[in-house]
Amino acid sequence: MAETTVKYEKTKGLTDKPLSYCPGCTHGIVHKLVGEALVDLDILDKAIGVASVGCSVFSYEFFNCDAQQAPHGRACAEATGIKRVLPDNIVFTYQGDGDLASIGIAETIHAANRGENITVIFVNNAIYGMTGGQMAPTSLKGQKTTTSQDGRDTDWTGNPIKISEMLATIEGVAYIERVSVHDPKHYLKAKKAIKKAFQYQKEKKGFTLIEVVSTCPVNWGMKPVDAMKWLSKEMIPVFPLGVYKDKGDNHES
């Protein structure tokens, strides 16, 4: 037998519990990236995750670290409460777009503005998944959802809200990048970004947020592979990928 080395296996940053997500949902991929970053930076045993409300409500069962489960939209407030009393721990939130960009936008903006030294993982799939596919603030123009059945009418409901662009204007923000996980190349970029966000937190640089453009195959009514293609073709033009803010090593933007 030839000698082998492990190239890829399930990260120790996740528990053995099977994920509760639908087949092909990118939540699972983003979970892996968070777990991998915590392991790679050797901070898993200092980490406290804050789960939000929505599909990722059970994420406290999946991240292999301490966790709290926040009311809808309040994850950044709860994370602030934790971080202020445990400044040397690593505190992160894991939130969807309904939770963060709608009901929790005040908590998010003010945590960013205080420069809370926390990391926010923001999973944007342009829809409310858990409740059955309603329109989100991030839903695209014309996107059909259960509460915009003829397609999102932006004159009536507004346009998709751009969290990374908005938060990048805030002084207390150390690092914001919008990434995607729709193919291996982007997976690797996303991995780097999430790791960098946690690294910044370790260095006490301030608020970090990684927006991950994601899929919801079931509520989009697509096969997982088609959802990845739709994400690439329709979502990324509205939510362009890239670094929106990076204070860098010298704390400069």
């Binding site: 528990t15 406290y60 292999n64 966790a67 709860e78 409460g81 009393v85 445990l86 005040a106």
Partner: protein
């Protein structure tokens, strides 16, 4: 430290410091602003956490986070602000985390007014949050009693892993009284917070999770049954009340708490001069409510007068506790109006006009 003359709201803040508070999260609202103002200076100067949040909603969730992380944590607010905190209070109670919530009541409903009121009895004891949860609510009458209660409330919250609310009205918050901050607190055995989310490095082999979600109905019912058992234990151990003027059989019994109880004390003295012997049940804990005190009301008593700075909220608990044994009357003022003792005297003298049931 000898007795000092201090304003109620500042006394809340100093009592919390004496009680070992690690962190305060809150949002400005009248009439409790001296609480965060005092704490902002004195907590930060001592390396503790004071943070003014963007809203009451955010403040209570910061409390949730810090409580889950094992800190002694508090917030304070007033009526509309407490309304906003109800969501978080339900989650904290469900996750069984300890914290202190100070509520300095003002007149309502809605934005209401800023003068003293007791119109948030329902809000404190019934709660606006969802589900079968229960707080421990103390409603002290003097600044001294409030200070002693606040100091002890952190221990009580830790002991039962349950949020404690101290409920006062704007009058107690704004007035000055002399107070001793160094009265000893009852000793309790407080176990280590081995459940706190402090990172698995502090508790290897075990993940700690602060959570209120239980999707399995069987498990959720079991959790509720367990919570009710805890609340029963709290009722048995932590119910507090004072019986005033029960040495000779009282002709009438007043039930009043907080500022209203102070006014009623004066009325009871005035009534005694007129030859009418009136006793008072003063609930100190309004949740759990001291229904056992009603067993001490003499059979011959002509009636029970529930007196509140509201349109009648504690009245529900009085009616339940009385359980049809005596006639129950009600006297209430509202909107920030505080009655003279003479009005209580009049209500007793014309009790028949006050009878509700």
């Amino acid at each position: 430290m000898a007795k000092v003359l201090m304003k109620g709201n500042e006394a809340i803040a100093l009592a919390a410091i004496k009680g070992g508070v690690d962190a305060f999260y809150g949002y400005p609202i009248t009439p409790q602003n001296e609480v965060p103002e005092y704490l902002s200076k004195h907590l930060l100067a001592n390396g503790k956490v004071f943070l003014q949040s963007e809203s009451e909603v955010s403040a209570i969730n910061m409390v949730y986070g810090a409580a889950g992380a094992g800190a002694r944590v508090m917030t304070s607010s007033s009526s509309p602000g407490i309304a906003l905190k109800q969501e978080g209070i339900s989650y904290i109670a469900a996750a069984e985390l300890p914290c202190l919530i100070v509520s300095v009541m003002r007149g309502g409903p809605g934005l209401g007014g800023i003068q003293p009121s007791q119109a948030d009895y329902y809000q404190a004891t019934r709660g606006g949050g969802n589900g079968d949860y229960s707080l421990i609510v103390y409603a002290p009458e003097t600044i001294q009693e409030m200070v002693d209660t606040i100091k002890e409330s952190f221990d009580i919250a830790d002991y039962y892993r349950n949020p404690v609310m101290v409920l006062v009205d704007g009058l107690i918050g704004q007035m000055m009284e002399s107070v001793d901050f160094d009265k000893p607190v009852k000793e309790r055995f407080l176990p280590e917070k081995d459940w706190a989310t402090t990172g698995t490095a502090n508790h290897p082999g075990r993940r700690n999770v602060a959570n209120s979600l239980e999707i399995d109905p069987v498990a959720l019912e079991q959790k509720n049954i367990r919570l009710q058992e805890k609340y029963k234990l709290i009722k048995k151990n932590e119910t507090r009340y004072e019986m005033v003027n029960f040495e000779e059989e009282p002709e009438y019994v007043i039930v009043a708490y907080g500022t209203m109880a102070r006014i009623c004390r004066s009325a009871i003295e005035m009534l005694a001069k007129d030859g009418i012997n009136v006793g008072m049940i003063r609930p100190i804990s309004i949740l759990p409510f001291p229904d056992e005190a009603f067993d001490e009301i003499p059979k011959k008593a002509k009636g029970i007068l529930c007196a509140e700075l509201s349109m009648g909220q504690m009245l529900d608990d009085v009616l339940i506790s009385n359980n049809g044994r005596h006639k129950v009357g009600f006297f209430g003022r509202s909107g920030g109006m505080v009655p003279d003792p003479e009005e209580i005297v009049d209500a007793i003298k014309n009790f028949s006009e006050r009878v509700v049931k």
